[in-house]
């Protein structure tokens, strides 16, 4: 019976407009997300000055099977990364003979809220700092260790572990720190600037066409509250700057370096666009 109705509906849609067909099938799901008994905010009113009325987590744009993986932290393969991060926490490295634990003895307490409030202003470097760079800063200044190579498994695991301590907390940036507002402005400009041979900006997909299909994929609002994210396609944790670079590559533009000024500005702005959504790290996406 249901099958017949769906068939009839799609035949109708075919005859009217193809846009209607795609729109109807790719809207965010009407569902709630609870992880380990914690209720997540996957849908919330946008902050002032935001182009959207309602913010939707990327979780709502995924298939039921993918959504189920994130609901159960046992089944979530991203938790392997979090566990690895927990182990790395107490590993001593560098000339000072210290580990993360030497300064932050109780990560469950000390790191709570950290994942919800970065990027912050780094007064020493005079630029925004994200969790990956903060880890490197600690390693260089306090531990006497080498910074991680971009996307080293350890870097992703520690970032995921730190962000996971804020699971369920709403994303909230303090843009009044230092010159963070200027970087937010720069990020916003980048967000709306078309680049590459395909001449696409972030907004063309994630603002103008979220909820529609891009070939076989649902376009989401491009929220970053679940990074590092476990992507089934790559079957590993994917960092935010890896995803940024992937998106830019897909527009056939020159790919900016990870943690470059442009991408730090973009991270600041895009994180703000998810204000109020829960930290979901490690999220599961396709």
């Amino acid at each position: 019976m249901t099958k017949k109705v769906i068939l009839a509906a799609s035949v109708l849609a075919l005859f009217s407009s193809p846009v209607m067909l795609t729109k109807a099938t790719a809207d965010p799901a009407d569902a709630t997300l609870t992880i380990d008994g914690k209720e997540m905010t996957v849908k919330t009113a946008a902050p002032e000055g935001h182009p959207f009325d309602t913010l939707y987590s990327g979780w709502l744009y995924r298939e039921p099977e993918t959504r189920a993986l994130e609901e159960d932290s046992f089944e979530n393969p991203g938790m392997f990364g979090v566990e690895q991060g927990a182990e790395l926490w107490s590993v001593v490295e560098g000339t000072a003979g210290k580990s993360c634990e030497s300064c932050h003895a109780e990560p469950e307490v000390d790191m709570k809220g950290v994942g919800a409030s970065f990027p912050k202003w780094d007064a020493d470097a005079k630029r925004p700092i994200n969790i990956e760079l903060q880890i490197d800063k600690c390693r260089e200044e306090n531990m006497g260790a080498e910074p991680y190579k971009f996307d080293a498994a350890e870097q992703k695991a520690l970032t995921a572990f730190i962000k996971h301590q804020s699971l369920g907390m709403p994303v909230k940036l303090d843009l009044s720190q230092g010159e963070l507002q200027t970087w937010w402005d720069r990020g916003k400009e980048l967000y709306y600037t078309r680049t590459g041979q395909l001449n696409l900006s972030c907004s063309n997909c994630h603002e103008d066409h979220n909820g529609q299909m891009i070939r076989a994929d649902h376009l989401s609002q491009g929220q970053v509250n679940g990074f590092p994210t476990y992507r089934l396609k790559q079957s590993k944790l994917i960092s935010l700057h890896n995803r940024f670079r992937g998106c830019v590559r897909d527009t056939r533009a020159e790919i900016p370096k990870a943690f470059s000024d442009d991408l730090m500005a973009l991270e600041t702005y895009v994180t703000w666009r998810g204000t109020g959504l829960s930290v979901e790290t490690p999220a599961v996406r396709q």
Partner: protein, 107 residues
């Protein structure tokens, strides 16, 4: 294999109860079909066997083939007649054996 395998089952059950066991192990499951940047075939390396015993009696067994995706996940139901220990064994192509065990109390 990066981290230790994960296993989830109830700590206690009543005699004859059917319980659900979930297992997950971190593994690349390299199929042997892929090529690296230089065009060379990446040799196959998968977990080829998964066995579960309860008080040394096999209760679940699977031969795993290259089409199984990375980080293989198994969920199955099993009847528990008495208190005892489940032993979980994964066998890697390279001969490595990953093991873990979990006890259950039957009232």
């Amino acid at each position: 294999m990066a981290s230790k395998p994960r296993v989830k089952l109830p700590k206690s059950a009543s005699a004859g109860e059917i319980i659900t066991i979930k297992t997950l192990i971190s593994h690349e499951m390299e199929s042997g079909q892929r090529k690296d940047k230089n065009g060379e075939v990446i040799p196959r390396q998968i977990i080829n066997k998964f066995t579960v015993t309860f008080n040394d009696k096999t209760v679940f067994e699977a031969d795993i083939e290259p089409a199984i995706s990375s980080n293989p996940y198994f969920e199955f139901a099993v009847k528990v007649p008495e208190s005892g220990t489940f032993k979980f064994t994964w066998v890697d192509d390279d001969g490595s054996v990953y093991e873990t065990e979990e006890a259950i109390e039957v009232a």
